[in-house]
Amino acid sequence: MIRVEDLSLSIHATSILTDVSIEMRPGKAFGLVGESGSGKSMTALAIMGLLPEGAQSGGKVILDGENLLAKSERDLCTLRGNRMGMIFQEPMTALNPVKTIGEQVAETLRIHTKISRRDAMNIAREKLARVGLPEDRFPLSRYPHELSGGQRQRVCIAMAIALHPELLIADEPTTALDVTTQAQILDLLRDLVEEEGMSLLLITHDLAVVSGLADHVAVMQNGKIVEQGQTETLFRTMRHPYTRQLFDASRHQPVRAEQADDAALLEVRNASRDYTLARTSLFGPAPHFRAVDNVSFTLKAGESLGLVGESGCGKSTLTRALLGLEPLQGGEIRMFGAPVGPDMPNTLRSGMQVVFQDPYSSFNPRWRVEQLVSEPFHLLPERPADWREQVASVLESVGLGRETMRRYVHEFSGGQRQRIAIARALILRPDLIILDEAVSALDVSIRAQILDLLADLQKGYGLSYLFISHDLSVVRAITDRVLVMKDGMIVEEGPTKRVFDNPTHDYTKNLIAATPAIPADWQEEPHA
């Protein structure tokens, strides 16, 4: 059993954690929930003794009656990997790309025990089979790049459990994965906890993930645990206002006005997009990969259309074709009846703007906000004389003051950056904004605010949205109609409510079933 008692932590005199007390029992999963910056990852690093330089910790982390915080780095090294294992959010970077998966799992074993290479490989084989990578299908000689994201996360788990640790810390283990993969990894973690008698510390921002897996939950805010208790009880009562706030934000439904009219804004007819692959023989034709396959849909003026699909389904390729950045190999895209493509005139191009997922790579770090937001003015014959006024007013309409104009983008938080991105998309008053996973990287409470903002702007400017996302709950909250995409094809299409309540295609059914959800009967208002 591992117990954290009154753990407090400060880095360079900034307080990060105050009086955190949690207890992880064998064979149980403990969920630690909070938004970014709440201190949940720091709690995990403090338990592992992996604190950054300049960190000052107080309190105790007790394993077998011994305080880990008082131990030397040397002693901690023998504990890490041996008694405590950890897996991270990004399975792409957590593995060494030049070592085979067998070697990587065996390495953990050989560092901590004096077993031979052959025995270590045997145990590695066993552990990889345990996490769902049996040798007959996934030989130990595979390299990480030959595996998918979910399979790599399984390798990380195999490494973490190789020595059968008492505690497994999983820091956002499924955030970077697709919903169906996420469901499989969560199942695997649940099995490991139950069958191997490990304690699991599951760190996540997603209340639904915790509700399905953890026996106990603690909610963190600003370095403090505001509420903790048995999962079902905590969800049923939600004594602390912050817990309720998180919960409400995660299923936030912006107030939207139905305003779709029947005029078609964007028409896509049998669009296909091929990529040329590397040649397999010297003189043979280069093979093609069809990323978007015969896609047809219509987006009406004032409508919010959702496009749902997992990574690699062709969503991003379709987006670039819709924006007229890449040519189609078949079919056509028309906006207001005029063809969309790389050669389309600037006047048509200015009717369509885009907001991307990553608020960090969406802006040139060396430009000021006013330059960034005014960039689409390039589409006009000349920049309007009152462009500064226009930038200020569009920044105000997304909830940012005009004093932000002279600042650089690194001075803003993720949510504020996404507002700047929306301002940039709005400045030319386009008819259509494509939102490419625009809220996926944001915390739930920020996400709720941005969704409200988008709904307000739609009302105010009569915008149409194409909302591209892998997150079904968000698509459900903000769209009128939804398209489900798989392997470059649209497999299902219909009004959002109908598709979510009565999916007809098997793939849609799978997607909806795999999406973690807080059990419906927990959500009843106890005092209502």
């Binding site: 200015s350 885009v354 997922q357 969406s362 040139n364 960039e375 589409l379």
Partner: protein, 273 residues
């Protein structure tokens, strides 16, 4: 922000030579073209601080003027590399995967295949030896270096979302390269510039040593070394002084380049924070 010690040390070392070269324009202890056979091979004294060579010329004066030659050659050679290599690299990155990219990069490989010394011999064979030809030879060798660095840095930027938004704003490849790519790879180019600068000094010394660089009577570190070679056992000072100058200047520039990279590269800066 903390300035790395190696940057301060490297900059100080380079500054000594830069100062010497600058002063030599209006003052040197003695005239470097003045031969004084009676005073040949004199040791360091009040009159000749670092002694004289086999023609009785003042070594300190020759080192100062030699620094000028070296720095001038290196500056112009790096300039040629940047002015031609960077646009080539930007063009290649903007057409990544296309035939123009292939054409530019294979052209670079072709230049890389010939060492700068071989190019210098070629140019000398055609135009005769001079400092200008040394500059040309080293400068040509710098073009593919800068083209590669530029293309590498630009390629990773081209995948970012802000480039995509610039394309949505209707901007063409040339405009995006100038407005978005170039400012964000400037730190890479500055660092590569200091490294190429030190390599340029080394290359100039090498070319002068084999007689393909600056011609007499213009002093040059490389030729001073070549002249001193026959007397290396009798008057080792003659070989050591220009040799040490080359080592110190190149070391200073390399340290400065490393230090600049630590400050300018945000990835490394974040790692230290």
């Amino acid at each position: 922000m903390k300035v790395p010690a190696q940057l301060i040390f490297g900059a100080a070392l380079s500054a000594i030579f830069l100062a010497g070269a600058a002063i030599s324009f209006f003052w040197t202890p003695h005239d470097v073209t003045l031969l004084s056979i009676p005073e040949k091979l004199a040791g360091p004294s009040g009159k000749f601080w670092l002694g004289t060579d086999h023609f009785g010329r003042d070594i300190l004066s020759m080192l100062m003027v030699g620094a000028r030659t070296s720095i001038a050659v290196a500056v112009v050679a790096v300039g040629i590399g940047i002015l031609l290599g960077v646009p080539l690299g930007l063009t290649a990155a903007a057409n990544r995967g296309g035939w123009l990219d292939e054409f530019i990069m294979r052209g670079n490989d072709l230049i890389f295949a010939f060492p700068s010394l071989v190019i210098a011999i070629l140019i000398t064979a055609v135009f005769g030896p001079s400092a200008l030809n040394a500059i040309l030879a080293i400068g040509i060798f710098n073009i593919p270096v800068f083209a590669r660095v530029t293309r590498g840095g630009a390629l990773s930027l081209w995948t970012l979302d802000y480039i995509l938004s610039a394309r949505v704003a209707g901007k063409g490849a040339a405009r995006i390269s100038l407005e978005h790519i170039l400012p964000n790879i400037a730190n890479l180019l500055i660092v590569q510039g200091t490294i190429q600068f030190s390599l340029g000094i080394l290359a100039e010394a090498g070319l002068s040593y084999v007689g393909l660089g600056a011609q007499p009577p213009t002093p040059s570190w490389g030729r001073m070394l070549a002249d001193a070679q026959t007397m290396i056992y009798t008057v080792p000072r003659l070989a050591m002084l220009p040799g040490l100058s080359i080592v110190a200047m190149v070391l200073g520039l390399n340290l400065m380049g490393d230090g600049l990279r630590d400050i300018l590269d945000p990835r490394i800066r974040r790692g230290r924070a």
